[in-house]
Symmetry: C2
Subunit: 338 residues, 2 copies
């Protein structure tokens, strides 16, 4: 077990390194923090911390920098969540309240988050699988071509084209629309399939294939994963770190363009509590020197999607966590109002 003072030394190292971005030595530490001991003692502690894998030195005769394990300990045990100032909170609220629709809420959120944290922001669209149905609309485009529009309680709209095996009349369409809505409006997506399973049977034999086609498309839309879109912003902030190596920025940019990767980054986070994944804890090369701070947000008690930021492992964790949490809360409020 680490003694109280050694923990304190680790905390000091993390704080200084995050501030200066330079390896921190024993002398500088004692000068900038009241540890009550001499540099020599700190050196011993540092040697111990290094043996345990919490810190490392880039090269001999240089200062120490925290390892992923060190940051992990810092986040778990040593760091609180720094709340935002009142002014910042008001600014967030004002900015979000100007949004006109869901797209706008998401767009504003991502900009806001990038600006406040000065890092790369990720915002997942309210997930379909946790949403419920507000309305289903069917439109006739051509005789055998139908457009299906699905509206969720989070304000999201999905549309699909359906090619039916037989012509579909307006009466049939109206009938289907009415029955469909009466059955599934207000239902959660996962609950829908059993509710519509036998719906085709109640129609004329000739119409059943067409009805089945529409239903199939509907169910497909409900489970569609690819539509768990994630919006990204603040990529320019990447240039604030890595100032030496455009080489290191490359893989990060590439990773950020892969929706699948982003989904994983946010997706593995636990539902409501905040998740911090540090360095190699992200299962993706190229993100090995970045950390992800993510948290769920939602219109009510339950999280419907996630948002978060991606930054260097050497980030200001307390501040970032505070900002992420605050933004998530306000977005939740805004969504609840609409």
């Amino acid at each position: 077990m680490l003694s109280e003072r050694r923990l304190e030394v680790l905390r000091a190292i993390v704080q200084d390194y995050v501030g200066t971005e330079e390896p921190v030595g024993s002398k500088a530490l004692t000068e900038r923090h009241q540890l009550g001991v001499s540099p020599a003692t700190v050196r011993n502690d540092m040697a111990f911390l290094e043996d345990e894998g919490y810190i490392a030195q880039p090269h001999t005769s240089a200062g120490r920098i925290p390892t992923d394990k060190g940051y992990r300990l810092f986040v778990d045990k040593l760091a609180g969540v720094k709340p935002l100032s009142g002014a910042e909170r008001r600014a967030i609220q004002n900015f979000l309240e100007g949004a006109v629709d869901l797209d706008d809420v998401v767009a504003r959120t991502v900009r806001l988050l990038a600006q406040v944290t000065r890092q790369v922001a990720l915002v997942q669209y309210p997930s379909l699988t946790r949403s419920s149905v507000r309305h289903v609309e069917l439109l006739s485009l051509a005789s055998a071509r139908v457009m299906l529009v699905l509206i969720t309680d989070t304000g999201r709209v999905e549309q699909r084209f359906v090619d039916c095996p037989a012509p579909v009349g307006e009466n049939l369409l109206a009938d289907l629309r009415a029955r469909l809505n009466s059955r599934i409006v207000g239902r959660r997506f996962p609950d829908v399939p059993p509710l519509v399973q036998d719906l085709a049977d109640s129609f004329e034999v000739d119409d059943r294939p067409s009805v089945a086609a529409v239903l199939a498309t509907l169910l497909e839309t409900l489970v569609e994963e690819k539509e768990e879109r994630i919006v990204l912003g603040g990529a320019a902030n990447l240039t604030r770190f890595h100032h030496d190596f455009p080489l290191t920025i490359r893989p990060v940019l590439e990773a950020l363009e892969e929706q699948m990767v982003l989904l994983k980054l946010l997706g593995e986070a636990n539902d409501s509590s905040m998740t911090v994944r540090i360095g190699h804890e992200n299962f993706h090369e190229g993100l090995n020197s970045t950390s992800v701070v993510a948290v769920g947000y939602g219109s009510g008690d339950e999280a419907v999607a996630k948002l978060g930021v991606v930054g260097p492992t050497r980030m200001d964790y307390p501040g970032t966590m505070g900002a992420v949490r605050a933004v998530a809360r306000y977005v939740g409020q805004i969504l609840a109002e609409s």
Copy 2:
């Protein structure tokens, strides 16, 4: 006027510089191209070209690089549009045909364009102002709260919330929906306003304020500019150039995050023909060493939106122009089919 050979020298300089990314000298030029003259002669020509402002030298005793003016001449007079290979064309077509809806078409297009050109790709959503109305749907959310859904012939869907001054019954809603659709379906957006101007008058006095509110929101949606969204991809390609200066990548990334800037970049392009804007011709600092190649695309004869790429001024213009044009054509085909 420039002699034939001097033009040839300029072309050779552009080609070599684009290939090697290094200033090109007189000796190397004569070795790599059959100009039929000696380095000394080329030196004279270079001096002339420099006087005229087509090329410049980064420092004394270095080779020459083309200026913006030089690239301009190259693009206008010396370069053709290099068509893609058959294999590339087939790959494009296959990739685009897998799209399931408009969002998917756009997403695939931007990825494709970034991949083919190995640069940053921009794709503008089919513009609202050139679209026509396919259907308007009205849904009751709460007694005095209505959701308006507008569907365009390009498959795009816009939704808005409307807060009405008075409760809106289902009958009223159905009535309004029917009348609205009968008047404006199939119309171009700019033609809509006069068609609905007097619509409120034909309703009960009590209902008129609510109807007016819905109409107001509808008209607002029609003219909304901000929704001329532009999707961007391939930002990682930025790191292929600028390998020396992460300093230069910064402003570009920042500019690319501003929707307004992107709109301008694409928007000033002429309707159907291809536009190439080189270096300072882009009215935005930070994009002074980048060029934009843009072209309109559309489902029919007319362009409904633009797409293009952003790359360094030292880009392969013929190849890029060929790729951009090819992608635009195939996207147009795909849109026409759906």
